[in-house]
Amino acid sequence: MKEIKIVTKDLNLYYGNKQALKNITLNIPDKRVTAFIGPSGCGKSTFLRVLNRMNDLIDNVRIEGEVSVDGVNIYDKNIDVVNLRKNIGMVFQKSNLFPKTIYENIVYGPKINGINDKKTLNEIVERTCVQSAIWDEVKDRLNENALSLSGGQQQRLCIARALAVEPEIILMDEPASALDPISTAKIEELIHDLKQRYTIVIVTHNMQQAARVSDMTAFFYLGELIEYDRTTKIFTNPSKKQTEDYVTGRFG
């Protein structure tokens, strides 16, 4: 197996008194795609948000256990959350582009990180748009409102925006669940290209998608990690009965 990028150990998460994640221990490999699957409410999205500390923004959340990225405990007191999130980009379920121009959306991240040089910013825009396979569609309309793009384009632009801050890890929370099949295919192709350079963690409802894009798959159920293995193994020869029932569509 490749090098390990993210490690979680005995991770428990509580919303108030309700426990949402139970003893999750998991190693996520570097420059690979890891998929989290499971029925709604199983904790897969919550777990994804643990990895870049987005749960910090919610009141009443308590986390126990350890999460480390490149061997550094990201829940340590000395960790700068803002810096952490620069290194771990996130793409959300629904496109959440700002009501600004396409150009401004991409340079938002670099700008808040202090990059103001016009030429550098232009380069970033071109590079990230090419990387996220949207350059040809937007290069002539960079100054148009980003919300005028189609749903699929918006989602790819969200990926471009996430790439602009040069993260090492990209978390994707059901990035294609609101898209049509063609746009979904484009996103999947894109994920395939991006894993050459980035560690990708993707949450998905769509099992065919998990099977198509990921190298590793984790199956969550009721806040527990039931099984975690190579994607081929999970989908062809799972060790646990529950996993088999889920991937074959018998429940979920």
């Binding site: 803002v82 999130r85 620069k86 959440n96 808040i112 969200c158």
Partner: protein
């Protein structure tokens, strides 16, 4: 068989619809009558002299320029005081304050503040701004009786307090309406809380904040009771203006220490203390029309700004 025929009419529905409809049209009618009366009676009085002249002959002749100027000045300074204070308070309440018992009391109090009769604000202004702050400043700075007397600044300050709940509540709503997903996007890109507020939340909240400002202007410009004790003069043809000189170069500036005339108050005294009601009646109508048009113009300005902001957000 499917019951496809309309068997009987929905009587309750029809009656309800008519009640609602009649209510609505009686409101429109009342508004039209009111405006119609003021416009038809007032329009004859309006002239260049009426607007730009001083009141003359015990207010039975002449114009109302000092009152117009006073109203604009007071409202202008009121906005300068109320908007920054209100917007900052709302940002604190919505973005930083935790949801504690104490903070909930504050939120409720702000809403209740909007329901306090305006005369109470007037007395508060007299007691707090003039007697406490003003006299206090006089004592500390040994300026005799300079600050501790009715003046434009105290009237503006009191009106600012009066309209604060409006500004705060509409700003709170505007901040609240910014989707959480946009904040998440910003945090996800490594923005700090303040960067997120400044770059994502506030630009989107701007139209809503302007709506609050519009409402505040309309409310403030129309108030009479609070400014009774705070510097509104019965008759004062001198504008509250002083030349501000830097070297030899002088520009006239609003002097916040002076007293002023106020349109709403002017209408009140024309109606109650006139020496010759037959002669002042048309002036009253004219003044009322001017006040309405003035508030309308101030509103239009703010609406144009709001339209521009919305357009820049692509929300139209």
């Amino acid at each position: 068989m499917l019951a496809l025929h309309k068997k009987k009419r929905d009587f309750v529905g029809t009656i309800s619809m008519w009640i609602v409809r009649i209510m609505f049209f009686s409101l429109v009618l009342a508004l039209l009558l009111l405006l119609g009366k003021i416009i038809t009676q007032g329009i004859g009085t309006i002239s260049f002299e009426f607007i730009f002249d001083d009141p003359k002959n015990n207010m039975t002749e002449g114009g109302i320029w000092p009152a117009i100027f006073g109203t604009i000045s007071v409202t202008f300074i009121m906005i300068l005081l109320a908007v920054p204070l209100g917007v900052c308070s709302a940002i604190y309440l919505n973005e930083y304050a935790k949801d504690t018992f104490f903070n909930r009391i504050i939120r409720t109090s702000i809403n209740n503040l909007a329901g306090i009769p305006s005369i109470v604000f007037g007395l508060f202004g007299l007691g707090f701004f003039i007697l406490f702050i003003g006299r206090g400043m006089d004592e500390v700075l040994e300026t005799g009786l300079l600050f501790g007397q009715p003046a434009l600044i105290w009237a503006s300050a009191t009106l600012a307090v009066l309209v604060l709940p409006i500004v705060i509540v509409s700003t709170l709503e505007a901040l609240n309406s910014v989707p959480k997903s946009h904040r998440d996007a910003s945090y996800g890109l490594g923005a700090t809380k303040w960067q997120t507020i400044k770059n994502v939340v506030l630009p989107q909240a701007r139209p809503g904040i302007l709506t609050g400002t519009i409402l505040a202007v309309s409310r403030g410009a129309g108030e009479t009771a609070p400014i009774l004790f705070l510097g509104a003069a019965f008759f004062l043809p001198n504008l509250p203006v002083t030349d501000l000189c830097i070297g030899d170069y002088c520009i006239p500036m609003i002097n916040p220490a002076k007293q002023f005339m106020y349109l709403a108050y002017h209408i009140f005294i024309l109606a109650t203390q006139s020496s010759n009601p037959t002669k002042t009646l048309p002036i009253q109508y004219g003044s009322t029309l001017v006040l309405i048009v003035l508030t309308f113009l101030l509103n239009i300005t703010a609406i144009i700004f709001r339209y521009r902001f919305r357009k820049s957000l692509g929300r139209l």
